[in-house]
Every structure is written in structure tokens, then in C-alpha cells.
Amino acid sequence: MRTRAAVSAALASAGILIAGWQSGLHVADTGSSVASAAAGSTGSSGSSGTSGSAGASGSSGSSSSSSAGGTTGASAKAVGTYAGSVVQTRFGSVQVQITVQAGKITDVTALQLTDAERKSVQISNRAAPLLRTEVLAAQSADVQTISGATVTSDAYLNSLQAALDAANL
């Protein structure tokens, strides 16, 4: 009878694991294709369409909020807030805003984060604070992406770079 229990338990567990693994393969396939598609779309929209217009709006926004610092150009130290470009991803749009004082990034706020599905919201919630800390430490967009949140991280850093460009940093 003990063998009956052991055999049935082993068969049941193996069956469950294999079923899970099989459906997981399917998810992994779609997941990776989604990721690559998202990366592609991010790249194209970032380079051509959105970033230009968003960059323009970002700079106009900054000039209105801080008239003196924003417009005096590269020589003076930039002060104020600068919004980055809106970067489209498969999971929603991402846009960040930086606060600059005395030529240093003092804060990064996410104006929009990936929110297409609830799961994306959770990923964003985990990634955004980590990215913010990294950026504040590095004072640039040249930081590691967050594991499990690659799409969000890439979009975040792209938008950030646009904001940095707008701030002439």
C-alpha cells in the first residue's frame, strides 16, 4: 500500500509538473516574441516619431517652469524640471521627468509607467524605485536594467536620456 501511495504521488506530481512546463513553453515563446517586438517598437518610436515631439514639449515645459535657468543654455548650470520623451512599449507608455539643481539630477519622477495589464503595473512598481536610485547614484542614464522588467527599464532610460538631453546634462 505504501508503494501504491508512492507511485500515485510520483505520477500525479510528474503529470502536474509536465503540464505546467508544457504550458510554460508556450508562454515563454509568446513572451520572448512580445519582448522583441516591444524592443523594436520602442527603438523606432524613440528615434523617429515620439521623441522629437516629446522632446520639444519637454523643453517648452521646462522653459515655462523655470524661465531663468532653462533658457540660458549650456554655459549656465541648469535648474528646473525636464520631462523626457514618451516612449511607447507593448505594455504601455513610459515618460519620466527629472529635477535638476546646480547641474545635478536631484529627483526622477515617473509621469507614466507601463500599465497595460495589472501585471505590468506590478513590474513597474518594483522597477521604478530601483531605477530612480540607480540614476540618482550614476547621474546618467547609463545604468543596469532591472531583471524581469527589461522593457520598462529600457523605456524608462530612453525617456530619461531625452530629459537629460533637454536639460543639456
Binding site: 501511495a5 501585471k119 531583471s147
Partner: protein, 480 residues
Amino acid sequence: MNTQLLTNRPGVRRSSGGAVNPFRAQYRRRLLRADLLTVLFWASLAGAIALWLADGGAAGFSTPAGSFTALGIVAGLAGMDLVLLMLLLAARIPLIDQTVGHDRALEFHRKLGKPALYLLLAHGILIAIGYGMAEGLDPVSESVALWVLVPDMWLAYISMLLFIAVVVTSLVAVRRRFPYEFWYAVHLLTYAAVLTSLPHQFSVGGLFAEGTWQRWYWLALCIATGAALLYYRVVQPLVATFRHQLTVKRVVRVAPGVVSIEMSGLRLDELAGSGGRFFIWRFLAPGLWWHPHPFSLSAEPVRFDAAGQGTLRITVRNLGRGSSQLASLKPGTKVAVEGPYGLFSTAARSRNHVVMVGAGIGITPVRALLESTPFQPGNATVILRGHSESELYLGEEILDLCRRRGATLFHLTGSRPAGIRTWLPEHAARAGHRLASYHPNITDADVYVCGPSAWAHNVLEDARAAGVREDQIHYERFDW
């Protein structure tokens, strides 16, 4: 001393010489249930890991950092699943109790404690390493970052500390140093540990994000566990207490330091057949009400006594702080009750023959079982063990029952011989007696053993050596 009287008891099912075994069907059902529980146990663990596999988790193994994270997630899932199973094992669910018995369930519960803790620790460490590698941080900085930056993670850290506290205080070596109440209070923190661990599972873990079927499965598992605990450990005892309305009728001194407590109550016929099983009693008197006492019935419940009331009886020895006050219980004291629990009953029978071995206060459930369990005259043996005749509690009643039912009774008194591991008194051990000497057909018998654990283990060893299979042995632990 050997007293054997052959008087037919009316109502015993027809069967001759073991040809028909009336317990075969219930025995097979019990084994089936045991196998089913084993399968459920492993299937739930496999299920926890399958949740993650179905989410494409295995893809994480493509990078070193991903591998650490993946292992960390698996450890966390398996650890949480074990914690939920541990809670279910301690929930006194009738299916589990009637299959393996409350004491075996708790023994298994205890065995799972350390593996569960190790899995949860591994979960934390591996995730910190995995995330840290991906972000270029060392595990310690990553842990700090998780604590400070990610919502709900600080709760998870508190949960981890609570789990460590609960398991450490439950280690045998540590547990002995503190009073029971201290251990119990710390053990209650388990609920806090589980509750504080839940937020991060659902908010930080992407696996249980809203809209996934995994989230529903995990929620259902957590809620079902909570509901089982609430129902079987809170609602059921309250219902039983109000349903049976037990009050202390009288307290009778049986021997020095031993008293029988008789209680009267309503609808006690519903408890028929629970003689020998135990209940958890709370005597609602000042200074006593908060102390739960696990005691077996020492007689079958009586539906109507001479006064037309139902009565229950437990027989208790003055064992410790709580028990000593019981001798002075006032008649009329209300009693809260949970139970019956355990497998020291006819429900565990698998064979025609039955051998009941009791020592000290462990004799009392044997007395109750002897009263009700069916057997043919000559197919039952009762062995009572004590230092002296005066320690064979309820000996008169047992002698009387053996006479009426045709059971063979042995009184084994005297101290154990020095230096030999035996459950027998010196004279019997020297004469070369074994358990099989007292009941020739022992391999075709259910063996019920109740008494101090060191002594009982010697009896069990003797029974196994005589060829009694594990599922024929029914041992009630006293010291859990």
C-alpha cells in the same frame, strides 16, 4: 495474574476463527485515505512549482542571474506551500485525524518545520543574489534596496524573522527550556508570519499578478487554509461546547493523585464510539479556563444515566501545574470541549483480534476501548502495566469488563530490570516473555498501546519484532 472468563456478549457480529474480518472494509478505506493524503501532499508541492513553470519561469535559467532568481522563486513557492500544509496538518481536520490520527499529523507537522524554514531562507537569499547580479549590486545592498524601495517587502522581512522565531522555539532542545505557555504564545506568531508574508507574494511577485489564474489558485489555497483553521479550531469547538453543555457532575478519587471527573451534558449519544479518543477540555473556573487539557475518555459516553442525563468520564493523574487543580473542581463548573480526536478507537481496527496494552494513566483509554470495541470472546487480550497493583487504575472495572466480554487480562507489576531495554517487569523479562507470549495470534491482531513514551516504544519494538505490521499498531502519544 491471568483472568479469563468466557461469557458470550450479545451483539457481537458473527464470525468464526478469523475467517470473516468485519474490519477489512474500513481498514482498506483508511489505507486508501492515507494514500490519497500522500498524493495530495506531493501534488500540492508539484502544483506550486507548476504555477511558476506555466508562467514560463523555466526561461529564467538562460542567464546566471536569472537562474538564481528562478531557484529563489521556486524555493519561495515550495516553502509557502509547505507552510500552508503545516497549518492544515495542525487544523484538526477530521479527514486527516481519522486517517493518521492527531498525534501522527502533528508529528509530521513538526517534521516539516525545518524544511519549510530552509526553503523560505533560501528564497530570500537566492532572490537577493539573483536580483543583485542583474542590477550589479551585492546581495546585501540588493536586500537593503528591496527593503527600502519596494512596497510590501519590509513586511516580508518581518515575516521571515517571525518564521525563524517560531521554528527555533519549537526545536526540542529550546522548547524544553521554556514553559509550554511561552512556546504556545510564540507559536501563535505563525499566523502573523503568514499574514505578513502574503502582501509581497501578490504585489511584488509577478507570478500572482492580477488577472492571472495563478493568482486565483494561490488565493484559493490561502483562503481555504484559513477557513479550515477557523472552522475546525474555532467554530467547531464553540458549536460542540454549546451543543453538549457539559458541566462537572462530580470528581471521584480513584487512587492517590488520580481522579475521575464525571461530566453531564446533552446529546452525548452523538459521541458514541469515542471511548478511548481524546478531547481537549477547558474547565471554565477562575485560573483554569485558559488552560487546555487533552484527556481521553476513560469510558464510553453514557446516553442516559439513572438521573436521565448523559454522562462522560475522564480519569486524570496529577501530572503537572494544570492537572493538580483538577482534583478540586467544583460540581457545576462549565466545561468547554473540542473533539473527539485521535485513532485510539474502533475506527482504527483492521483485524479480528485485538491486544490492548496500557501503563499508568495510559490504562484509562484502554478501559474505554475495551468497553466498546467488538471482538469474539477469546480474541482480545488486555495487558496492564504498573509498578504496583495500586497503579493499575480502574483495575476493578477492567476486570469486570474482561469477564463480561471474554477478554484475557494480564496484570504486569513490578519495576523494570536494570540495564535491559524492555517494557516488562523484571520477573516476566527474566522468564523470557515477549508481547507474543501474551497473545499467540498477535500477527493477526490490532495492537493498541498507551503509556509513557519510552515505555511505549519498547512495546512497539516488541510488537514489530513479533511480526505486527505498522498499520496494525495504534499508539497514542501522551506527550505531544
